[in-house]
């Protein structure tokens, strides 16, 4: 939520202490090391269901939400089409690669189909972004939502490429060096590697000149234009970077489920990505992953939980919606904002300057 004008003040303290944190802030944070090592040895702890359905799904959704976080948090543009870009990449993997629908799929090997899908999805997202940057603020939400919805209805109607509402099934997953990379453990590591790569890339971008310029554009586009920066070009470039991240997540998603259908690119799913990012917090790259974990846990266990306390198990979306409303109402920075506020109230004045900036969990 830091993208609104009124909350801009909250972003400033974090920027002010940046010189102290040059380099990678994670190196000095014991919590980050603990999380990283837990994630690395996860296959030893969790069985197949938890590994894939919970953790890999969390990382995939988190990466999609990360691309939104990059746009919303650093560039001030809330795009609802990140899932659409991911879905487009997923469709392209299915169309160019091998799948059960032989009349549609071109049957390229995965190492050709995936770069093609990534490139096309990035182009798609960049074009959408170029359209969206012609307007500002809330208009961006509307236009990107319209793009997302149009894509959903288009996939539903088009049978030649997208195979209508049945979608494309049994998409082949990569097999090489004698390893089935869709088997639980290798797939988990692929997802983890991609998620970590995207996470650190976004964190790097946020401190690179490009990212700093973006944050300048977010805070005062007119001043940045006066300084000689091409505001719109930076925004479109941000869309391009975010699209690439979303496309990576989309490729992983199609490998995860082995199928893609209009249901996976529906408007509700587009909004879920926004919910994930906002619930987690869109000021830091870790936020989307926390949000995704909460979302996936809720989605998986809310049914059992609701039934256990004697309510209708189908009201999971109600729970999500109410939780989202509560977060938007009471915390402008999602769960990490709440966590930070709690820590600050625990530790008065003395530690506030040093410990406030990072909220790793």
């Amino acid at each position: 939520m830091s993208v609104t004008h009124d909350t801009r003040v909250q972003v400033r303290p974090a920027t002010a202490q940046r010189p102290a944190l040059r380099g990678w802030p994670e190196i000095n944070n014991p919590a980050a090391w603990i999380v990283a090592s837990i994630l690395l040895i996860m296959p030893l702890i969790a069985n197949g269901f938890f590994l894939i359905e919970i953790f890999a799904t969390t990382l995939i959704l988190g990466t999609m939400a990360l691309s939104l976080m990059l746009l919303a948090g650093y560039a001030g543009m809330v795009s609802l089409m990140q899932l659409t870009i991911a879905g487009f990449a997923a469709y392209m993997v299915a169309v160019f690669g091998v799948s059960g629908n032989a009349n549609i799929s071109l049957g390229w090997p995965w190492w050709l189909a995936v770069p093609m899908a990534l490139a096309l999805a990035t182009i798609f997202g960049t074009l959408g972004g170029a359209l969206a940057v012609r307007t500002e603020g809330i208009y961006t939400i509307m236009i990107t939502l319209a793009i997302g919805a149009a894509f959903y209805y288009f996939t539903n109607q088009n049978w030649a490429i997208f195979n209508g509402h049945t979608g494309i099934n049994t998409v082949a997953t990569p097999h090489f060096w004698g390893v089935d990379w869709r088997a639980d453990i290798p797939f988990y590591y692929i997802v983890l590697a991609v998620a970590a790569l995207c996470y650190f890339a976004v964190e790097y971008v946020s401190r690179a000149p490009f990212g700093l310029t973006l944050q300048g554009v977010r805070d005062n586009p007119r001043r940045m234009a006066a300084l000689g920066f091409n505001v719109n070009a930076h925004r479109v470039a941000a869309y391009a970077v975010a699209s690439f991240i979303a496309a990576l997540a989309g490729v992983l998603q199609v490998w995860n489920y082995r199928q893609i259908s209009p249901g996976s690119v529906s408007v509700g799913a587009c909004i879920d990505v926004l919910i994930i990012a906002v619930v987690g917090g869109i000021t830091r790259p870790i936020g989307p992953y926390i949000g995704a974990l909460i979302f996936v846990l809720l989605r998986t266990f809310a049914l059992d939980f609701l039934v256990k306390i004697g309510l209708d198990g189908n009201r999971f979306r109600l729970l999500i919606g109410l939780g989202f409303l509560a977060i938007v109402f009471w915390s402008s920075d999602g769960v990490i904002g709440l966590w930070q506020r709690w820590r600050q109230s625990q530790r008065p004045a003395a530690n506030r300057a040093g410990g406030g900036g990072r909220g790793h969990g």
Binding site: D6, Y139, Q157, L318, F324, L325
Partner: protein, 336 residues
């Protein structure tokens, strides 16, 4: 209008030629060559009428949306939920009392009440924070959608058309000439025409209310600069509540209309939200005539598209939006 012609003579000429061509296509008896090329005239006329009447429905939904946006800068993404809510209320009323007219009145009142509650309880707290309001409306639309799914289930509902509106009427438009030389006239469902006429009446009434009454003057002033308006002593919160009630109520009416000539089911809320978004983006944010023009264009594009290029109908709608954004980002009839 004359200013537009003076400033863009080429565009004005293109528009006039397009209108003339459209009128000729509608009124003239098609020569055989044309029928061979693009099919029967009856199909074309039906698509045009469906498009225009669908445009009327879109206008009802989008005008409330654009009114609320224009005054309060609040992109109400829960507008589709209000539409569906109005539809369900209308269905319940017409099923229990059998009165179609009553269902409009009750649906208007109840959705307007929901709108008032939303404005008083939720949006007043976060005035001026556009993005936060939009996020809240997204959350609300999820909650509403699930509550309505809970209450009404996933079935399709259709509101019963009253007896006096059932059946087609003959319009004085010739679709073909029989071999005996006898003209064949177009037959079209009466209910759709009545609903279209009603939406035109509502649109004109809204335009008059906005441009000829004191209240409308206040609302227009609020669209231009609400801070100065508040400073002149107008009780702007009351105006906000009224406009929100009107906008929400219109969505409710549109729900009953949509429930009568289409059907109500979960997912329709998103469809009509998308429609009003596109209509408003094309027509221009916050402009009632813009909403009318946008609704007409989108309705026609959707229906003609689904007749002549079935797989790509949605793309046509979308392309229109892209072209408008590329040429005139603020929308066709927006003032800025």
């Amino acid at each position: 209008m004359t200013r537009f012609v003076e400033r863009h003579p080429a565009w004005a000429l293109i528009v006039i030629i397009a209108i003339a061509l459209a009128l000729w296509l509608i009124f003239a008896v098609w020569p055989p060559g044309l029928e061979d090329a693009i099919g029967r005239k009856r199909v074309f006329l039906n698509a045009v009428f469906n498009g225009i009447t669908l445009g009327g429905l879109y206008f009802l939904v989008a005008s409330g949306f654009t009114l609320i946006f224009g005054l309060m800068r609040n992109v109400n993404l829960a507008h589709g939920s209000l539409y569906l809510f109005g539809g369900y209320v209308g269905y319940a009323i017409s099923a229990s009392t059998g009165s179609w007219i009553l269902s409009f009145i009750i649906a208007f009142i109840l959705t307007a009440l929901v709108g008032v509650l939303l404005q008083v309880i939720v949006f007043r707290r976060m005035e001026g924070q556009d993005l936060r309001q939009t996020m809240v409306t997204i959350g609300l639309s999820i909650v509403f959608a699930d509550l309505m799914l809970w209450a009404c289930g996933g079935d399709f509902y259709q509101i019963q058309t009253p007896n006096w509106l059932i059946g087609p009427i003959e319009l004085p438009l010739i679709t073909a000439i029989k071999s005996s030389g006898e003209p064949v006239y177009l037959r079209y469902p009466l209910v759709r025409l009545v609903i279209f006429a009603a939406s035109v009446v509502i649109g004109v009434a809204m335009w008059l209310a906005l441009n000829r009454t004191r209240m409308g003057m206040i609302i227009r002033a609020g669209v231009d600069d609400r801070d100065i308006l508040a400073a002149t002593g107008v009780r702007i919160q009351v105006v906000f509540v009224l406009v929100f009630a009107l906008g929400a109520g219109l969505a409710g009416i549109a729900g009953v209309v949509g429930g009568t000539f289409q059907s109500l089911s979960p997912g329709e809320d998103i469809r009509f939200l998308l429609a009003s978004l596109v209509v408003v983006i094309v027509g221009g944010m916050g402009s009632i005539p813009g909403a009318a023009l946008g609704a007409l264009i989108i309705g026609l594009a959707e229906q003609l598209g689904s007749v002549y290029i079935p797989t790509y109908a949605i793309v046509v709608t979308f392309l229109i939006m892209v072209v408008v954004l590329a040429l005139r980002p603020q929308g066709l009839l927006a003032r800025r």
